[in-house]
Symmetry: C2
Subunit: 341 residues, 2 copies
């Protein structure tokens, strides 16, 4: 009863390796490897034997080792400027879902709104991740081009000829918002700006300005403000003194902050001032008053970004890959906008 002693090698504590499986199944490690990751390459009965052995040993291949020899890591890094911001939460949720479905691991990195940190992460993780999703990248066009040339990248809300991107068509809805306000009788409208380095901010402003002009509206602009509710106070004060009767705000975070400040100051929303946010983040529907805002399929954007990235990684599809996906948006009217007094 002692002649199956061959496998006495594995030190009890350590997880089983491919060799243990091979030994148990009576084949070479290469066969195990193939059976597990390239099933067609191996005879069915052999494969089944191997699968049984693997199951019996509770074998889990080491992603490290696999990565070392294959060159792939099966991990995607998602870089966001600020994990704190609900907008990115939704993106993270989207990428997380899709990545998991595809068997990838998500590496989450907070770049703290810093282009430098972003570039640095991109460099440091070049070997750690198979690809990168850059949410609201702060990189310059040149940096982006540079990065995209050496690794798989998809940007979200940062369009550039140099890298595949998915952009949320907030500008499209800015026009809608403007019309909404205009139809309520507003003619003096203020744009409350977000971070200066933000591409979205720039495009939103641009659209806002052009569309306003076409419609003969008077525009003001205040900012930039950091995308946090706490910036709302300053933003509200600045907007109020422009004399505008309505604001389109860079994002819901700032807008929600403004709502509070305006209430404190006795400026009624929407009677004295209408407010339109952007993004429709968590909270926009239950703040006081509920916020009229530009609803964005943020989570979906995250998912699409993952799909594009994965396609880019797949040699079969790499060529035919879309370079740009535009996500539709729409205006959601709630209680923070109303007719001009």
């Amino acid at each position: 009863m002692a002649d199956s002693a061959t496998s006495a090698s594995r030190p009890a504590g350590a997880p089983p390796t491919i060799r243990d499986v091979a030994e148990m199944a009576g084949v070479a490690t290469s066969t195990v490897s193939r059976a597990l990751s390239n099933p067609g390459r191996v005879n069915r009965v052999t494969r089944e034997r191997i699968e049984e052995a693997a199951a019996a040993l509770n074998y889990v291949p080491s992603s490290q080792a696999r990565g070392l020899s294959s060159g792939r890591t099966n991990a995607i890094a998602v870089l966001v400027p600020d994990v704190t911001n609900p907008f990115y939460f939704d993106i993270i949720r989207g990428t997380q879902n899709q990545l998991k479905a595809a068997g990838y691991t998500q590496l989450l990195v907070d770049t703290e709104e810093s282009a430098e940190m972003e570039a640095d992460t991109l460099r440091k993780m070049q070997r750690t991740a198979d690809g990168f999703i850059l949410a609201a990248s702060r990189l310059t066009d040149a940096q982006l081009a540079d990065a995209a040339s050496s690794q798989a990248i998809v940007a979200i809300n940062r369009s550039s000829a140099n890298a595949p991107a998915v952009v949320i068509d907030t500008p499209g809805a800015v026009v809608q918002a403007l019309e909404h306000l205009s139809s309520l009788g507003h003619s003096k409208i203020c744009f409350v700006g977000g971070p200066a380095s933000s591409w979205s901010n720039a495009t939103r402003w641009k659209t806002f300005e052009e569309a306003s002009q076409e419609r003969g509206l008077t525009t003001f602009r205040v900012g930039p403000f950091a995308p946090k509710t706490t910036s709302g106070a300053a933003a509200a004060d600045a907007a109020a003194r422009t004399g505008a009767t309505a604001c389109i705000v860079f994002n819901d975070l700032i807008a929600i902050g403004m709502l509070q400040r305006l209430r404190e100051r006795g400026i009624r929303v929407p009677e004295d001032m209408s407010i339109v946010g952007c993004d429709d983040i968590f909270g926009a529907d239950f703040c006081n008053p509920p916020l009229t805002t530009i609803s964005s399929p943020i989570e979906q954007a995250g998912r699409v970004a993952v799909s594009m990235l994965l396609a880019q990684l797949d040699p079969l599809q790499a060529a035919s890959t879309r370079r740009l996906a535009v996500m539709p948006t729409h205006l959601t009217v709630r209680a923070s906008t109303g007719p001009v007094a």
Copy 2:
């Protein structure tokens, strides 16, 4: 001018390896390895030469390869039941910060409130991560013990003798909340329960019940409800028909949902019904009315969890490591609670 041709080997596109650095610095790869990760072991001038070469080549060690030979991955997996939930957002933020500071990568996994998925992830990633942070683990005591015995683990809000944990002392503040309500004249109080499998839910209810009894209050209990705002409607309806004049709600998400529903039904908060939430998540301060809630240092809990985990990983400290950290909480009174009518 042609005798430094030795290094012609590296195929332009590929990132430099330790060998390229060694070659350029004129030393063996082992020396490079040591210079970079164990500076004291190498002569200063040699080290500097190596550092220069590394910088010149823009060398980044492959974490894969490093992991393979050293056994460490420098990554920590953070498992949360639901990335969507703002509560976990704060945890993620906390862990993210602290991990980055310590030079670790964060692997974020959404276990979808499933114990099975959690156990599975733990198994699959045993080699991928050096340790795990389990936020609000759904695992049974046995599973948890099992997992903790074979890998480094810290649980958040899931205490058990079997694994190190950081728990947020919400129960402590539940008593405070009860006193607050009692002092406002409430005597019929309803506990709105969260997920049945949640340890926090169990402890909150237990404390609630005991403390109520001591104070001679009449208690009701409704639930379980999923921790989402959308559960609020059902929760509100259920709570309303108990006849209670105040609720302590499992978490802010449900509480915020209730707020909306109660308003729709014309039940005024706090005049007809007082509401106390738990967690003080993003949004609790700007919902309508602003929510009285039990404020928790969530982000800090995440940070502490990381510290404990890292200490556990460090052979020097492993022994002296704390097994339990309790984070203090306090009641934040806003506008959703008031005197009984």
